[in-house]
Amino acid sequence: MDRTIAIDVNRLCKSYDGHKAVDDLSFQVYAGEIFGLLGPNGAGKSTTLRTLITLLHPTSGSASVLGHDTVREADLVRTLFGYVPQERAIDRFLTGREHLELLGALYHLTKEEAGKRIAELLKLVELEAHADRPAKTYSGGMKRKLDIACGLLPNPKILFLDEPTLGLDVQSRLRIWDYIRMLKARGMTVVMTTNYLDEADQLCDRLAIIDSGKVKTIGSPAELKVALGGDIVSLTIKETARLGSLASALKGQPAIRAVNTTETGLDIRVESAEKALPVILEAANKLECRLDFIDYHRPRLDDVFIAHTGRSLKDAAPAEEHN
């Protein structure tokens, strides 16, 4: 299928005082898809988005939105997208409606256009009842919804969402996923960052796994899992003393592809569970290492992440202090 490219990021680099936040990043987003940037804290997701919204100039490389360069044609690019920042960018003293009115003027809507769209959006994010209260009285989830309404106000072709569900309860998360799917159904292109695996897995059509400013792999969640191949055998081992020796005993065995130490034991990537299990049990027996629980499954996105970055997203420590 021949698809239109909505966003093209080409060998993008961005350094802060010599530290490379984004390092030779390239990816393309197709029109009409939900594209995810998945990575741990400090991976460079927000930096990449800030370049796309024209507020950061690349140190080298380039990015374009609907064919327009984010540096040379910044003014034009800014008319094409809506943006929902990672921080709750809310003015506590303004009401929800006043936020939207302000943005309406900044996008040069007439009073009537703005009024109509504001009413629609307040309804969409279910803030009608609270529209005329100052935002300081809003809960975290309500602020996030207002944030999203602000991003949608320009009725953009492209929506950038920076960690849209960070810190929300399960219900609100699911609702926001639904909004995002609905926006896609209306033909919008959505680029979002996340460090939630389930979000990337269930919501994104395609995603790029990013770590330390580099793209590790790109594809649809299903493709990425299939590409990994084989099975994952998870061992739960309470007695951690022999963990290291068991891991090294398994490494290099023909049936074993990769061994990764987790908080609770070992995750072993294998050709097929049937062939590998006897090998693993034998090694454990030999070392007198007691296995508390054995489980095997097809690769999940977490396994994809581990395979490409060498660590689990769940327990990935921030690469650097983030302020």
Binding site: R50, D75, F81, Y83, A89, E98, L103, G104, C150
Partner: protein, 259 residues
């Protein structure tokens, strides 16, 4: 052009709304000390201040010019604070990612700060009037005072915004602010005329644009046009140079921060 005004109008309205919501107390804390100074300090030091030295009928009428310009100073130097908070919580990013002229946010801030400052100056002059300080140059003189205040205020607000865009944390911002404003006041003719200062102090005070502003405002209140005009002329020249330098620095800081 219509777009430009729409943006600036909406952004200015936001500053007004913020002020009216919460900053009422803040407005008070800004005006109040100034009025106190004028009324109590003025009367208290009446005896101490030698009429021969101040060349004014009473200390309160001498002090009025200083209080006017100090208000301009305070408002100007605090003018960037809201932008600092906007920068820190990401609101500025949201504004700047909209298709607006790059200068709209800043211009709206200038308009807002200048308007509030002018209103406060009028309040101060009004209260001084009640205490018998009648500007010698009349309403035209008051207009001239506002003009000088604005010329000084533009540069100060530009400094404040430049700092807001370049500091790493708001702690830094407020320490630099405190560090700037006290010497600006004491090394100026706000509280005592240059002639009554020790030599080194009056030399330093002459490099302070605040002194030039006060020395133009004071004769506008105390003596009259013939005495004031040369000072006003000099003040305008000094302020224009001061503004040019501050705006240049401010524009540089803004460009660095906003790509």
């Amino acid at each position: 052009m219509a777009h430009y005004w729409q943006e600036i109008g909406a952004l200015t309205l936001r500053w007004v709304r913020r002020l009216s919501r919460e900053k009422f107390s803040m407005l008070f804390t800004l005006v109040q000390p100034m009025l106190f100074w004028l009324i109590f300090f003025g009367n208290l030091f009446q005896r101490a201040a030698d009429v021969q030295v101040t060349q004014a009928p009473n200390y309160i009428s001498f002090l009025a010019a200083g209080v006017v310009v100090m208000t301009v100073l305070n408002n100007g130097l605090a003018g960037g604070v809201d932008l600092l908070f906007d920068k820190e919580n990401g609101f500025l990013e949201r504004l700047m990612s909209a298709p607006i002229h790059r200068s709209s946010v800043i211009l709206s801030r200038f308009i807002f700060v200048m308007t509030i400052t002018s209103l406060q100056v009028l309040v101060i002059l009004g209260i001084a009037f009640l205490f018998g300080v009648h500007p010698a140059t009349g309403l035209a003189g008051v207009a001239m005072i506002l003009l000088i205040g604005m010329l000084f205020g533009v540069g100060l607000t530009a400094i404040s915004m430049a700092m807001a865009f370049s500091v790493k944390s708001h702690g830094d911002f407020f320490s630099v602010l405190g560090f700037l404003s006290l010497p600006m006041i004491f090394l100026s003719s706000a509280l005592v005329p240059l002639t009554a200062m020790p030599g080194w102090m009056s030399v330093l005070a002459q490099f302070n644009p605040m002194t030039w502003a006060i020395d133009a405002v004071r004769p506008l209140i105390l003596t009259g046009w013939s005495d004031a005009l040369p000072h006003v002329g000099m003040a305008v020249v000094v302020m224009l140079i001061f503004d040019a330098l501050c705006l240049y620095g401010g524009a540089k800081a803004f460009r660095r921060a906003m790509g």
